[in-house]
Symmetry: C2
Subunit: 206 residues, 2 copies
């Protein structure tokens, strides 16, 4: 990712906390790269798992699924948002899907120049193509889309040496008080929800 | 409120469902009048009470208060949003406050030209001045701010003939499947949350 300086001459960074199974993380993940580059803000990709977060809150699943009318609204809202942002959309036949493998890869290769393309491919698979991103074959296809040798990347990301990274992300998320995704953290300031992306970028440029 | 026609030549209307105790209804209520007039959309003010909605979902209070980290975020988010929109902000010393009296007045005078000013005054009292909008004296002051004879308005809005209006709003909200506030309904399309105001107005102009 190209590094630019903002009007003040210093490099601003934004931590983007995302989960591959999270609906609203999808438009955020697709939009953040271009929006941040236009704003001169550097994105740090911070994959994490929401399951432990919800469990720590006493929920067995995403709180939005606890209220049927709210869950139904979420699907309609997602379809409209994807239309607004020009993103493909197909309501997943299974929800939530998680991708621990995808998250491990994103942890191990957070700074790789191809990571953004991989993230896009995984979200498209889940929310535009209704494919099971928990399936290693689907993740391998996403890696190839990002120009990578799937087998080598997967072997590295799932190695004993690399596996603690995802657990450490969970510890860090808890320390930050994250309660959902997507979340943006800028200089200690938390923004929650894909509709706060622009506010978070504006904060990074203050 | 002045009626205008949009590009298609017909008058678009937007139902604005709000609750005086709702934090995120505050910026929505303050912004919607000007935004709708600029868009050529007519607002129908739809006051309702959230308490029965949350109870029907199995919650004793707003779901956002069930997770302490999320409640803390809400206050910070509100302070930032009010800064962004140029609105006064003071975190209420008591939350949630409800104003059944304010809601009854808004029901009885939904079409009055002064209603918007009254609504603004009540929200300012609650969220910018930390005053108890459940107190009749505070509501009376809000009516005077809107240029009204407080005693006469209160006597009418709380009369036996008028009291069924607020209950009917609750029935209608349930029929519409509303699960929170603010909510915008445009031609049967539901938008939830103050950050969807612009999307709802755009939908009304389609």
């Amino acid at each position: 990712m190209e590094r630019r300086t903002n009007a003040g001459g210093f490099v601003s960074t934004l931590d983007f906390w995302f989960e591959f199974g999270s609906t609203y993380s999808y438009p955020a993940a697709m939009r953040i790269g271009d929006a941040a580059r236009a704003a001169g803000v550097t994105v740090r990709w911070q994959p994490f798992l929401l399951g432990p977060v919800f469990q720590s809150q006493g929920y067995a699943q995403s709180p939005i699924l606890e209220v049927p009318a709210k869950a139904a609204y979420m699907w309609r809202d997602l379809a409209r948002l994807c239309g607004k942002y020009g993103l493909g959309w197909q309501q997943p036949s299974h929800f939530p899907r998680t991708s621990v493998l995808g998250a491990r890869i994103a942890c191990s290769y957070a700074d790789a120049p191809w990571l953004e393309n991989f993230v896009h491919a995984v979200y498209r698979a889940n929310f535009a193509e209704d494919r099971d991103v928990g399936d290693e074959a689907v993740i391998a296809a996403c890696l190839r889309t990002a120009g990578q040798q799937a087998a080598a990347v997967i072997a590295h990301a799932t190695s004993e040496a690399e596996r603690p990274r995802l657990r450490a992300q969970g510890v860090r998320a808890a320390e930050l008080g994250l309660f959902g995704a997507p979340s943006f953290v800028v200089n200690g300031e938390l923004f929650w929800g894909q509709d706060r992306l622009e506010d978070a970028l504006a904060w990074a440029r203050r």
